[in-house]
Structure formats: C-alpha cells, structure tokens
Symmetry: none
Subunit: 131 residues, 4 copies
DNA sequence: GTGGTCTAGACCACC
DNA sequence: GTGGTCTAGACCACA
C-alpha cells in the first residue's frame, strides 16, 4: 500500500523542472497501473532524501498534484492517490488527445518515418500502458 | 515561393515560449507539406510586426531552426527552408519517436480513452500529415 | 441527555483540521438545536473510536470548546454543553457576522449568482437553523 | 489598466498564509468589480516590495491564481486578470454557495442574531459586491 | 523588464 | 511522524 521512492528518478540535466518530472512520473506510473488509487506516496522528506533534492521541491510537486485532483492530503498520514475521475465530454477529450498527439506525429515525419513504422510503435505503447 | 506571415500565430499566454511556438509551427507546416524546401521564411521584421512580437524573439526562433538544420541563412535574402535530410539509424529514430509518443499515450489513458478511440485518431493525423 | 458519536463525522482529507471540523459540528448542531445545553458530549475515547481518530485530536477539540465557553468540564462525568451566553455589543456582533458573511458573498458572485438566487438560499438556511 | 499594489494589504498576524490572503483579495476585488479582466496585476517584485514580503510568496499566490484560471501569464509582461467563466450547473453552484454560507449563519445564531438583523446585513453586502 | 526554479534552513500546525 | 509556510539569496529562461 506504500509506494517506494525507488520507483522515481529525476534527471537533473533534462531541462524540465524537477517538480514537473516528479509529477509526470506519478502520472505515468498511474497510467501504467504501477501505482493505484488508495496507495500513499512516499513522504516528502523520504522522497527528498532518496532523490537528493530539497524537500520543498517535492512538496511543490505534491501540492500541484493535489490541486489537479490526482492525490489528496490525508491529515497526519501523507499524500494518497485519489480515485481518478474522468472529466469532460468525449469530443473534448479526443480534442485534448489530438493536441497531445499531433506534435509526436510531426516529429515522426521529421524523422522520416512511415505509417507502417509508426503504428506498430503505437500499439506497443498501448500494450505497455493498458486501458 | 515566399511563405506568408499569416500562416503563423502565437499565443503569448500559452505556457510555451513564443520562439518555441514559432519553431514548432515551422516544423508542423513543413511536416504537413504546406511549406516546402527552397521557400523563404518571412523576414524577421515582417514576422515581428505581423505577430506583434519582439523581433529578437523571431530572430531566436530562426537561429534555433538554423542550428537544427531546418533552415539556412542566405546572405542578403533571408532564411530558406532546407532540403530535409534524415539522420540517425532507424532504431535511434524509433527510440526518439517513442519518447515523443509516450506522454501522449499517458495523457490518453488519463483521459480514460480506449485503444479503439485512440487508433482512429492516430490514423486521422497520419493522413493529415502524410509521408 | 447524551449526545451520540454517530451525529459527528470527519473528513480527514478535507483541508480543515480534524479538531476544527469537530468543533464546527458541535457549534452547528447547537445552532440547529439538535443538541442542547445540559447534554453531555461523548467521551474522548468513545468519540475517538467512533471517528477513527487519535484521542488527542478529540481532546484538543474539547479543550478549545471549553476555552470558548461552549462546553464545561464536569469532573468525573465529561464535557457538558453550557448554557450559551451572548457577548459583546450589538454593533460588535454585527461586525463579526459581516466578517463571516463577506467571503460567502464573494464566492457567490464568483459563481455568477444573482441576488434573487442568493436570498432564497439564505432564507432556507435561516429556517433550518432557527432563532 | 494596471492594478496598484496599494490596493492590497496583508495582516501578518491573521493566521492565514500570506499567499492565501493575497489570493482572496484578488478574488474580492474582482467580485467587487474594483479590478477587471484584462488588467495586469502588479509585478511580483513590485508587490513584494510594497507588502514587505518575499517575492516567492507573491509568486506562489500568482501561480495558484493561474492554476485556478483566475489570471493568466502573459510572457514578458506579467499576470493578467482573465475573463471569468462560470462553471457547473446552477444546482451545483447553489450547493457550493450553501456550503460557504452555512458556517456564517451558524456564527450568526451563535452571536444571538435574529433574522431581522441578519437579512439587512446580507443586502448591504449584496449592494457592496454587486452582480 | 517579466516570472520560475531551487536551495538551505527555520518555524509552525496537525495527528 | 506528516505536510505547509516563509525567508534570503542565487540563478535561469524569456521578451
């Protein structure tokens, strides 16, 4: 029921803010069902030590996940993954996905990749991050 | 043979740096074959006026595109779209695409979308941005 | 003459401190005349078990209520609801209410609600929590 | 078109976090139409000097207002008040208001105030914070 | 000029 | 034990 700090890693050189990297990893682990609603995230201090960053940076990531409704604070215990609720109409969500997918396709074409090289990769990712 | 500044638009509140938005639009137009190698980008001043943006910002976008080999500086004439060359081994390029694609799939799952809702959207985008 | 712990509930994720939630519920039940002066609050231990909360937290809520003159400690028996006395001049009390009411009105406006949507709600609440 | 830092004040003793006080004042000024969509908030540094607090504290307030959709970042210029959009069904919004209003009524009763003392105060506030 | 990020370290409220 | 707040000060990205 507790998530281990070892499941997270940050790349200090990656340009992306550390707190953002952490948030994205929580979202990715959640999408990949490697962490589940009801589980507790490692405490701020524990995570800070494990990743070698300032506790406030972890705290910032957690707070923003809380504001986005991904986790909730349980007083005196820590941060818990929330039951994920799906919002918005289907068409809105498809529009949102299109916005996220379009740059990847642009990139693919820039890399000179053909449809029959792109689709298998998509299916591989869909299997790795299951419904 | 000249690209019009009207083909570009920027959202100063969109989170993404303006110079990045410009670069991404050049890449998207190129991927969608709406602009072609050999064509000239609008001059920095023209673009800056049209978009209501600081000329230095346009200049930065152009310089970055030059660094990435997308355009080349033609002395006295401006920036020209280069013939696009494909670099790297296939596996490297597939790896690159996977990195670009993965966050989009994570987003799709977070939106509660199923395989049979995601794949049609991919194929639509592949048609819009052809090989 | 004894108040049941079932009349209380706490939300450990709700942002508000648990001891504050408990205090507010005592005040609300009292305002709504669902509990009366002379009645005894459940014992700290009983309440702690019923709510699944640390006894120290219950104790803190009770102590605060005692400090505010809402309840009094009866040696060997527990906490009893006191006869409520009204303090301060009318203008002071109105000022106090204004301070409590203003954020609710700000919220109402932020929600785009009009006078004719707000006043009926006020009257409903005044009926539910009678003089 | 620019909002003055003099319109804001913080009470360091009030218990409420400084960044929260600032957020609430922005919301209150907006509800009272003293500031309008399209206007720019004072810069983080300017506000920090005027209020005598750390710039990061101001920044935190601004970021959270941005996350809540109250203001938006205009690159290179600062934070702009957004056009406010009203969300949720009417019944949801009324429920939200009831939650905000109920504690104020409880307080009023605790202060021994009668309906005919409470309603005039409400109407006064409704006039001060107009539709 | 604008806001954003991060650190080190102090202090607080709550459970 | 948990998370939250604030400071002082450094440094960065962007326009």
């Amino acid at each position: 029921m507790a998530i281990l700090p070892e499941q997270f890693e940050i790349h200090p050189t990656s340009g992306a803010p550390i707190y953002r990297q952490l948030m994205d990893q929580v979202l990715a682990l959640l999408a990949g069902k490697q962490i589940q609603p009801g589980e507790m995230l490692p405490s701020v201090r524990e995570m800070a030590v494990a990743l070698g960053v300032n506790p406030m940076t972890i705290s910032k990531a957690y707070s923003r996940l809380e504001l986005e409704g991904i986790v909730e604070r349980v007083r005196g215990r820590g941060m818990m993954i929330r039951e994920q609720k799906i919002e918005g109409s289907l068409s809105k969500r498809l529009q949102d996905l299109e916005t996220a997918l379009q740059p990847a396709i642009v990139r693919a074409r820039q890399l000179g990749l053909r449809d029959d090289q792109i689709t298998p990769l998509l299916h591989k990712l869909l299997r790795e991050i299951p419904e």
